[in-house]
């Protein structure tokens, strides 16, 4: 065979560098991965909260994304408990956003003239986050390499301006570029002086094995429920406190500014991850499922609307201050 083998295919880390450089050169701020467990790059506050409100944003980051139910003990060559998404948020989306995206493919070594490219309808939805958008899955020679979404709603609120989101599946793209059949065979890095290769398997297989075992076999259901309850209670407590403070005329600017919205959001994310763990463990019946999802949805939607209320105040405050001589 060897037809598709690219001699100079990018390593996993070069792929990441190249995309980061590409988007940095087009005005994106590069952020580091968010350090709380999330199921997708969208759930990072750098997307979820920044798309709210009128302030323009261009940001890009790689986000390790945990989905306990997708774990396969490292036995399946195409499924991971944790994969890496490269997330680009452009608010508002430039007119040539699709062309920019196609240029990014050229940048990572995909010569579009040699491939079959299709934009197929795929609308994204995260009901628990009150978020949805329309867009496509980008198919390259039959492989879904990117999810492209125009966000319409987030946190249950209409967005204006909307944001464009480009989510690259880094493992898939690296596997495609390097023409390997198993994710674990992807070359992660090459030592320039010795030529020694480090593979994805060397870096991550143990993690897949152990976290699959933890999620499916070891996790203690009762304590996971208890953690969920505690995080939820803490989040609700903060939400209530924030309501009081935001509605109180005597709240000082400083207290206002320090309202821990990001803390609330993080607690809600913790709940979401615990839900996923319990789900993978097979501990949530269909009946419970709807109820627990509604509880987490409440946390996230209330956090989003508190964020908006607080920021509406901040933006107004900034505006007023800007007018002072």
């Amino acid at each position: 065979m060897g037809v598709g083998v690219k001699k100079k295919a990018l390593t996993f880390q070069e792929l990441l560098f190249t995309l980061q450089r590409f988007w940095a050169e087009r005005g994106c701020v590069l952020q580091q991965p968010y350090d709380v467990e999330v199921g997708a790059g969208t759930m990072s506050p750098d997307t979820f909260l920044r798309v709210l409100g009128p302030k323009p944003v261009r940001i890009a980051y790689a986000q390790p994304s945990r989905r306990p139910a997708d774990g396969r003990y490292g036995e399946n060559p195409n499924r991971l408990f944790r994969h890496t998404q490269m997330q680009v948020i452009l608010k508002p989306p430039p007119v040539n956003v699709q062309e920019l995206y196609l240029e990014s493919l050229q940048a990572i070594g995909i010569d579009l003239r040699e491939h079959d490219l299709k934009f197929e309808e795929d609308n994204w939805e995260w009901p628990v986050g009150g978020a949805w958008g329309v867009g496509w899955q980008v198919m390259l020679d039959g492989l879904e390499i990117t999810q492209f979404t125009y966000f319409q709603q987030c946190g249950g609120m209409d967005l204006d301006p909307i944001a464009g989101e480009i989510t690259y599946g880094l493992e898939r793209i690296a596997g495609f570029l390097q023409d390997v059949d198993s994710i674990y065979d992807i070359v992660w890095a090459v030592e320039p002086d010795t030529g020694k290769k480090t593979t994805y398997g060397e870096m991550r297989l143990a993690e897949e094995e152990q976290f699959s075992a933890y999620g499916f076999d070891y996790a203690e259901v009762d304590s996971l429920w208890e953690h969920l309850r505690l995080y939820e209670a803490e989040c609700l407590r903060l939400l209530e406190r924030a309501d009081e403070l935001l509605n109180h005329p005597d709240t000082s600017k400083l207290v206002h500014r320090r309202l821990p919205i990001l803390g609330m959001y993080e607690l809600a994310l913790k709940c979401s991850h615990l839900f996923n763990l319990l789900d993978a463990r097979g501990a949530i019946s269909v009946t419970e499922r709807v109820g627990v999802m509604a509880r987490i949805r409440t946390l996230i939607l209330r956090t989003a609307s508190t964020y908006r209320n607080k920021n509406a105040f901040d933006w107004k405050y900034d505006e007023l201050r800007a007018r002072q001589p």
Partner: protein
């Protein structure tokens, strides 16, 4: 006259929405031109579309609307002229009117009306230029196009559309029409294939040059041409794999037509080892997940090939790269499926039974274990029906199937391919040594999924599918969750359609009443009645939609009974077959008349005699009708009993001469109370004896 070309350039439109939008755009443009008096007799419109554009090309468009002469009436003559005389000096009122009408004062006329003489003028409303009309009106039409899902993209949300607009092109002859929409004003520029042509703008000189310009730019804008190209290419490329043919799939051809601007086809293959996986899984992966056509050998077995429709054109080396990529993806997908298949074999269906206790069917209806329990009981009730026992179905196989039917919901393969629920269970049952009857019943339990789908193949499968659906419907009705209007979240109409279709086309002698009774259980008569009515509505739907029967025939047939589905189908077909005959039509009309007379009499509290007294019949015509009817009654009854409805109806139609003569000669509402009551009894008896197949009064007789 000129040609008009309009194209709206979009980011990729979802394939499923393109065809209807293309048709709608053409209709809107043609209707607009017609409404605005811009269409000539020779006007003709063609529509084009690709994922990135919708276009319409209209020939025979007028450059300008005709001027319209309009008669305006002004002030009365006595006000219009200073001396009140038609030839007098015009007053300010007349001058103002002439100005408003756009004519000279001396061009004013006098018209006489019943209210007196008035000043009038013929005003000429000049026609507007087509370009001007289109530029003003077309944007409104664009905004009104229906999309199943649309979006905002510009700040301030000025408009919603399926995807962001990227360009507009509008030409009337060789002139640009400045149509504005989505932040763009139309020009004469279009764009070609993203990859094969690139981003360079293409100038279109005049409308007729459009298609050729796009072809040059590797865009086939004509949908039918693309469809034809794809079909031909599938045939041609498939021939390179000897002894094979591609599996016909109209829906997939359609989808690929709307996913490509410049289609070509590529043959790929996969390792024969995967053929050990069930064909259903392989086809689902290829078709639903990858948009590939399956390839089969002469005997209909799956061959280790697939056909992919590309949105590009590649030489042999390029094809090799693309083929390699597609094969790699398919291999990964098949590996996944194989992994799940093998993983699932670690546990038998029997061993999965306890797991169903943890899978909720519906929160108030309990787990799938509980549903399974109920479905097993329902199967037993149905099998106990005397007519069903005669079918000689395999009782143990049926009960095994019912017990294990839902266990595949706990398998990895069904979690991955939910659309294969039931089928997977059937395949696992077969692999685990259950009888073919059990396996087939499990396999078919969700069928029919639609009006077009087939029903379960075996009697066991039909009983199981019936029991499953009856349990779901009755359970949801108990909770008050029946469908309302367009809302049917639990797809109960589909389940009920399935019941009707199984009973109509299968072999089970079970009535809708029995289904409702068994599903609800004894006790709640009101609820049983509600479910029966719901099922009868679906029978009506089935007869009209699936069987294509006329509204009035269905109403006539169901008016006398909707319980026995197969009988209702037979009666409907018989009535449809004879309704065209003149005798039948006349007899139907006469029956309707009889019914009306009886209804009116009963409204006036005029009672018919309880029993017809033949001795009292004086008139020859009434006696003839009574005798003929009495003569016919046993014959019709016998034909009915044999379900030879057409023969029975033809026999009833032979009543025509006597019926005609009766209404010509006899006055039913005779002044003599006794005669009248006896004649009403004759009508009631005749109607009663011959209305068992259908209520003929429901038949609409044309003219």
């Amino acid at each position: 006259m000129a040609d008009f070309l309009f194209e709206i350039g979009l980011e990729e439109v979802p394939a499923r929405m393109i065809a209807s939008a293309e048709t709608e755009l053409r209709k809107r443009v043609v209707d607009l031109l017609t409404r605005e008096r811009l269409g000539s007799e020779a006007m003709e419109a063609r529509a084009y579309s690709t994922p990135r554009r919708l276009a319409v090309l209209v020939s025979g468009v007028l450059q300008r609307q005709q001027d319209i002469a309009e008669e305006l009436t002004g002030p009365a003559v006595k006000i219009a002229y200073k001396d009140g005389q038609p030839n007098g000096t015009p007053s300010p009122a007349a001058i103002a009117f002439a100005k408003k009408a756009g004519v000279a004062v001396d061009a004013l006329k006098i018209v006489s009306t019943p209210k007196g003489d008035y000043v009038a003028a013929t005003a000429v409303k000049p026609g507007r230029a087509a370009a001007e009309v289109l530029a003003t009106e077309l944007p409104k039409e664009l905004a009104a196009i229906y999309w199943a899902k649309n979006m905002y993209w510009r700040a301030g949300k000025p408009e919603r559309f399926v995807r962001p607009v990227r360009w507009l092109l509008a030409l009337l002859g060789d002139e640009i029409v400045p149509v504005g929409f989505g932040g763009y004003t139309a020009g004469r520029v279009t764009y070609g294939h993203r990859v094969l042509f690139g981003a360079a703008p293409i100038e279109v000189g005049e409308p007729q040059a459009y298609l050729a310009a796009l072809t040059q730019a590797h865009v086939m804008a004509d949908v039918e041409l693309r469809r034809h190209t794809i079909r031909k290419a599938l045939d041609r490329v498939c021939r390179t794999a000897e002894g094979t043919r591609w599996r016909e799939d109209q829906a997939l051809v359609d989808k690929m037509t709307h996913l490509t601007e410049w289609p070509s086809v590529l043959l790929g293959n996969f390792d024969k080892e995967y053929l050990s996986l069930p064909e259903e899984v392989l086809v689902t992966v290829m078709r639903d997940h990858q948009n590939y056509f399956a390839v089969e050998t002469g005997d209909g077995k799956l061959a280790p090939y697939f056909l992919a429709v590309l949105n590009t054109e590649a030489d042999e080396a390029g094809q090799a790269v693309i083929r390699h990529g597609n094969e790699r993806v398919l291999r990964a997908r098949f590996n996944d499926a194989k992994f799940f298949w093998e993983f699932d074999q670690r546990m038998t269906l029997e061993e999965r039974l306890p797991l169903l206790e943890k899978v909720t069917f519906q929160k108030d209806l309990g787990s799938y274990a509980e549903k399974t329990e109920r479905v097993v009981q329902l199967c037993k009730i149905f099998v106990d029906r005397p007519g069903v026992q005669k079918l000689g179905l395999d009782y143990n196989a049926l009960i095994d199937a019912a017990r294990l039917a839902k266990t595949d919901l706990t398998s990895e393969l069904v979690k991955e391919f939910t659309e294969l629920q039931g089928a997977i269970g059937g395949l696992y049952a077969r692999a685990q040594g259950f009888s073919e009857a059990s396996a087939a019943a499990i396999y078919d339990q969700y069928r029919p999924m639609s009006m077009e789908d087939r029903i379960p193949r075996t009697a066991e499968g039909q009983v199981l599918a019936l029991a499953d659906k009856a349990d779901t419907i009755a359970g949801m009705f108990k909770l008050g969750l029946e469908p309302t209007g367009s809302k049917d979240p639990f797809a109960l109409r589909r389940a009920a359609n399935g019941i009707v279709k199984i009973l109509a086309e299968g072999m089970l002698p079970i009535t809708l009443g029995e289904v409702a009774q068994a599903g609800v259980g004894s006790g709640d008569e009101a609820l049983i009645g509600k479910v029966e009515v719901f099922l009868a509505e679906r029978l009506e739907f089935y007869l009209r939609e699936a069987k294509g029967q006329a509204y009035d025939v269905v109403a006539a047939v169901l008016a006398v009974g909707a319980d026995d589905v197969r009988d209702a189908v037979a009666r409907t077909e018989a009535v449809s077959a004879v309704r065209g005959g003149e005798d039948f039509r006349e007899v139907s009309a006469a029956f309707k008349r009889m019914k009306n007379i009886l209804v009116q009499a009963s409204e006036k509290k005029i009672a018919a005699a309880p029993v017809l007294d033949v001795a009292m019949l004086k008139d020859g015509a009434e006696l003839a009708l009574a005798e003929k009817a009495a003569d016919l009654k046993p014959k019709v009854a016998e034909l009915r009993a044999r379900q030879e409805y057409r023969g029975a109806l033809e026999a009833i139609a032979t009543l025509r001469p006597q019926v005609d003569a009766f209404f010509d000669a006899v006055m039913v509402m005779d002044p003599d109370e006794v005669v009248r009551a006896n004649r009403l009894a004759l009508l009631a008896r005749t109607l009663g004896d011959f209305s068992g197949i259908a209520d003929f009064a429901e038949i609409v007789v044309a003219g």
